[in-house]
Symmetry: C2
Subunit: 173 residues, 2 copies
DNA sequence: CCTAGTAATGTTATGCTGTAACGGTCAAGG
DNA sequence: CCTTGACCGTTACAGCATAACATTACTAGG
């Protein structure tokens, strides 16, 4: 099963083959549109960092982003450069922080609600983003029962993606 | 109190008043029992770290644990001392790591399944542990649909506990 | 044009989080 | 006695993150 084009639900990227060039271009275009719409500036640094994250559906540590940013520029930027850009992207729903990995991924569901949940493959490092509501429904119910008011939910599953399960069957059934 | 008859399901601590001295003593006794049962050694360092975590239902960073361990001993132990003890406790279900905070809490549900979910109060720092199944059910379903095999799920909600909502009503709904 | 204000970047320095590697101690067992 | 294995002690360093301040760039108003 190579390419899927059914659009009934958002097909989660990350574990499925797709035209990544188009995926990347679309995400960048979406980011520009969002920034125009909200009066934000997608500066060169921010766009470069987003593009770095968009190179794959894996999560990158801030220092890896920083290294690639340095490589792209030919200079050696300092950590705050990367962190500020990442903070901007996360604050505006263009990227997400993966707490489990202390790392960042580009948002794979442009324009969506942005309470995503994530599946992290330990084999290949790919991260799939799925809508958070379904995953967090039970959590909301528990919170209501406790009188707890949820401001943000972190939902991250770690395991093996289909391809990695197929490659090393001993890791799961 | 809502007490289940024979499942042993406890009401979630952390946000509720309780006899914490007893809670702490019970957890320590449980830890000793678990270690005897499994042939593990609850050494002085490990017991001290567990006791430090049991001082409250808040999450503590490894270096804070380290400081308190040093205070308790009168010496100044190095990071690996704390990390090794914390790793032992986490590996054996006696404590949990809170990814969102890069910090650790004592397990509040001794003997339970150990795929907990957590609610973290931003106001007072308290952490309540709830059974993970309910919270992660939607996640499991999504994973099945994707063919993803979950090895571990991180489910952490950040927000306001009942007491803190009451104290500062502007922060909640 | 000039200027003042704001937002973003550049830079320095530092602190928190986590681990690799090696050596010492102690207990169990040949 | 000597090995083995588990744990602890220590050094050193790697990776993650931010405070604080200087500089640049854009832009709004005179």
């Amino acid at each position: 099963m190579a390419k899927r084009s059914d659009t009934g639900e958002a097909p989660p990227l990350g574990f499925v083959e797709h035209d990544h060039g188009a995926c990347r271009a679309a995400a960048l275009a979406h980011a520009r549109a969002v920034c125009v719409e909200r009066g934000l500036k997608l500066t060169e640094t921010r766009a470069a960092v987003l593009d770095i994250l968009l190179e794959s559906h894996a999560a990158l540590g801030a220092y890896e982003v920083l290294r690639r940013l340095g490589a792209a520029r030919g200079s050696a930027p300092q950590p705050p450069i990367a962190y500020r850009a990442l903070d901007f992207l996360v604050a505006n729903g263009l990227a997400h922080r993966i707490e489990r990995l202390n790392a960042y991924v580009a948002c794979a569901r442009p324009g969506a609600d942005h309470a995503g949940a994530f599946m992290i493959c330990n084999g290949c490092g790919a991260v799939a983003e799925i809508p958070g509501e379904a995953a967090a429904k039970g959590l909301s119910r528990s919170a209501d029962a406790l009188g707890f008011d949820i401001a943000r939910a972190v939902v991250e599953a770690e395991g093996s993606c289909p391809a990695c399960r197929a490659a090393s069957p001993e890791s799961g059934s």
